[in-house]
Amino acid sequence: MTAALSIQNLQKIYDNGFQALKGISFEVQPGDFFALLGPNGAGKSTTIGIICSLVRKTGGSVSIFGVDIDKNFPKAKQLLGVVPQEFNFSQFEKVFDIVATQGGFYGMPRALAEERTEKYLKQLGLWDKRNVQARMLSGGMKRRLMIARALIHEPRLLILDEPTAGVDIELRRSMWTFLQEINAQGTTIILTTHYLEEAESLCRNIAIIDKGDIVENTSIKSLLKTLSRETFILDTAESLQGAPDFGSFNGRLVDEHSLEVTVEKGQSLNELFTGLGAQGISVVSMRNRANRLEELFVSLLADEKQEEAR
């Protein structure tokens, strides 16, 4: 099957000599919901910039549904929609005009562009704001406006660079639902995000990029299986004066009603609860201290640093 996105040995050295990408390779299959993760400055936005032609690559190749961007970029662009990290529309134009005009840039007749504009503005809850200048929108509305604009030509591959940054949780969840719907309808989605909960909830496959290199590229399920430890916060019914005996577990007292315990792979939670119960401590609730993917992400990057130090 032809990959929705195929990146081979992609390199980028900026004019100041900074090597942003050191020859990365990965593929995204059609219909996938794919996460591209990495810390700030890892090379995510450079990769997206190259895919959509805003950044010129130094070496390597990029194909979108089999169309090499070096051979037929206009055709590749027709297959691609991009929601960038920064707002990049005229603040003084009206919402409707911004979206419909983008359709024109893709060669869509005005009537069709207006029809699609209405469809996506309604789906993204912006129809009431269609005659408002973009600068009057809230941050969340501006993000949704960029999603509507990216969808106007109904691309087969949609790339979103931190689409929910600065968006409140209610709106974030409604955007997730919307993205899941269009993914279910067949649109391949690549997402970069700092909210790892978002990646874990939405995405099936993942690539982690750090300092211009891919450090992990697998399914989220198999990645989570490699998680060697999880840290839990336990809420206790009793008021605790000091840290209890955690037995073979690593733990600490957070406050008089909560404990933090690290559970290594192979250790049983039953053993922990039994030990605490024997000391007269009953646990009323428990939760992960951090999102599981977040924990894994941090440990992966830490491993990278250790290897570099050697």
Partner: protein, 257 residues
């Protein structure tokens, strides 16, 4: 993109450009009209009546074609330079760069947007001039051709200025320090026959002199220079600036990193 899609994309850019300068008409259309009206009143009616004839015409008749051309030049240039630089500044130019619209269509759309504003302002200034003097165009074809080509040329120059600009200061340097002096010294207000041979020779190095005189020839039938050279010069400059603009768009580092 097929030709129909290219036409759609071009007309979309042009429509957006026209929408932009008509939306902010108090900034784009009114100031040149007021400025030119003042020129007509002061240089044409008040001072001009004491100057007497120039090139065989009353001073008002002589100065009107130059002032029309001056407004076309400055408005064509400033429309494109401010619009395209604003698009760069707000990053809305990325809407076009990520689309399949070819670079030459993007440039043509912006340039025709500048031409639209230049010609609209030129037309309004012409209508105002009719309150002050009588105008009968001697060579309609030459008049229309030279004003259109001049507008294209300065729109292209504005486009290139915008590509190079890194700040709003950068888009006012060329108009202030290059365009305005060349226009004022380009035979708008006087015939170079009044100058000594040395200054006449120097004036003939000013490309705007040729455009202003070609337009004056179209309207009044008189010119300080051979009109053919005006058309040759304008067409050569259009070809050079078009090639430069396209090169900057495809290979330049100012739009794509």
């Amino acid at each position: 993109m097929n030709s129909s899609a290219i036409w759609t994309s071009f007309s979309t850019i042009l429509r957006r450009e026209v929408r932009r300068f008509t939306r902010i008409w108090p900034q784009t259309l009114v100031p040149p009209v007021i400025t030119m009206s003042l020129y007509f009143v002061i240089f044409g009616a008040l001072i001009g009546s004491r100057i007497g004839d120039m090139g065989g015409f009353s001073y008002m008749e002589f100065v009107v074609p130059g002032l029309i051309m001056m407004s076309v030049i400055t408005n064509s240039y400033s429309n494109v330079v401010s619009s395209f630089y604003s698009a760069k500044f707000q990053r809305s130019v990325e809407e076009l760069l990520v689309s399949p619209t070819p670079n030459w269509v993007i440039m043509a759309g912006y340039v025709l947007g500048g031409v639209s504003r230049g010609l609209i302002v030129g037309l309004v200034v012409t209508l105002i001039a009719l309150f002050f003097t009588h105008l009968s165009v001697q060579h309609v074809g030459i008049t229309i051709a030279i004003v259109f080509l001049t507008s294209v040329l300065f729109s292209l120059a504005g486009f290139i200025n915008a590509i190079f600009a890194n700040s709003f200061d950068d888009i006012s340097i060329i108009p202030t320090f290059v365009l305005t002096p060349l226009t004022y010294l380009g035979g708008v207000f006087y015939s170079i026959q009044l100058l000594s041979p040395f200054w006449q020779g120097l004036s003939k190095l000013n490309p705007i002199l040729y455009m202003v005189n070609a337009f004056r020839y179209g309207v009044l039938g008189v010119s300080d220079i051979n009109v053919v050279w005006a058309f040759v010069g304008v067409l050569v400059f259009i070809a050079l600036l078009s090639a430069w603009g396209l090169h900057l768009m495809s290979n330049g580092k100012r739009l794509r990193h």
